[in-house]
Symmetry: C5
Subunit: 93 residues, 5 copies
């Protein structure tokens, strides 16, 4: 999974029937320092109640469909957790 910050929302009236009712958030991939990486923002389906400005964990690829509990939903990115604490103290000695 990757780390991201939710930066916005997207609205689409015409869409796949399996996406009706889903909450789609724009998420910017970030590093462990919470700074944006070179990756473009992506559109993620939210299933954990995330909001703009929150640091999240998102999953990519076919397993994102498991987060939305619908194996027939054409999604490839989903927010699966909201980060409370990220600790990275390790430095190679």
């Amino acid at each position: 999974m990757e780390i991201g910050i939710v930066i916005g929302t997207v609205t689409a009236t015409r869409k796949d029937e399996h996406l009706v009712g889903t909450k789609m958030l724009v998420t910017q991939p970030v590093g462990i320092d919470e700074k944006p990486t070179e990756s473009q923002p992506i559109i993620t389906v939210d299933t954990v109640g995330a909001g703009v400005g929150e640091s999240v964990i998102f999953v990519k690829g076919s397993m994102a469909s498991r987060a939305v509990h619908n194996k027939d939903s054409p999604v490839d990115a989903a927010i699966v957790g909201i980060i409370d604490v990220l600790e990275c103290d390790y430095r190679k000695g």
Copy 2:
């Protein structure tokens, strides 16, 4: 999912039997500012009635087959929504 703009069409007479009748559009990945990213245009299957010049949401990988409602169709990219509004106001304070 990613954001793209439909830029063209592709025709292929000889193709996989599961692709017969599908509408294939050339889509340029773009950022939230709608400017092209460094990614190459890809060929996407359209299932929502998208047209050239429209901003769309597309899904990549095996879940694209769910958009075409055919798990045996060899597609790895599909348009699943047409963007009405994309709002990205968040700036880290």
Copy 3:
């Protein structure tokens, strides 16, 4: 799916049993101008009768196995169409 040009062939006597009898072609990913992208050539399974020098549509990932009609075949790239016409006239006005 992506656009490519078939540039060669590959022969492997020792291989996975599900690959016996498959035709493997070396394909160079190209842009909509048919110029090679920065991506390396890949090995694709051909199921539509493509030949060296032809412009093709290829699919990557697990859905490539659908093109070979064998879900147990360990392939991650397959040619699924031969391009007749590619029209990309759109310029953001």
Copy 4:
């Protein structure tokens, strides 16, 4: 699979129900010289008892769900082994 070094931990109270009880570690992809690659650290599920500072093998994509023995768990990266010895002596002659 790829080579990584576990560099930290992540805590998320609000998360997908299938992730409750899983141990999530931050893993930095490294080369065969154990130096960090240009890839960003990722969040991996641990199933083999890995700890911070250890060199590990991790799997990405949908097969990561097999490591957690739960095909409905929305994970796309998992640690599947702890490296004892990595020998790369080959130089093209």
Copy 5:
């Protein structure tokens, strides 16, 4: 699939139970000229009897599990063929 050269071996005592008994080789992705690409070496499962120094075809992603004949094995890269001949004569005329 991609082209690689086997450059080493890896040993892991603590690992996923489905990986016990598998032969894991370090493979360097190479171009059609057999020179290393910019991609990092990866860990591949071997099922065709490949050895260090040999040019191989490897598959990535979930289909690699088909090569090991175990859909529950958490692998995302597998060697599926040993290259005898690679012919790339095509130049755009």
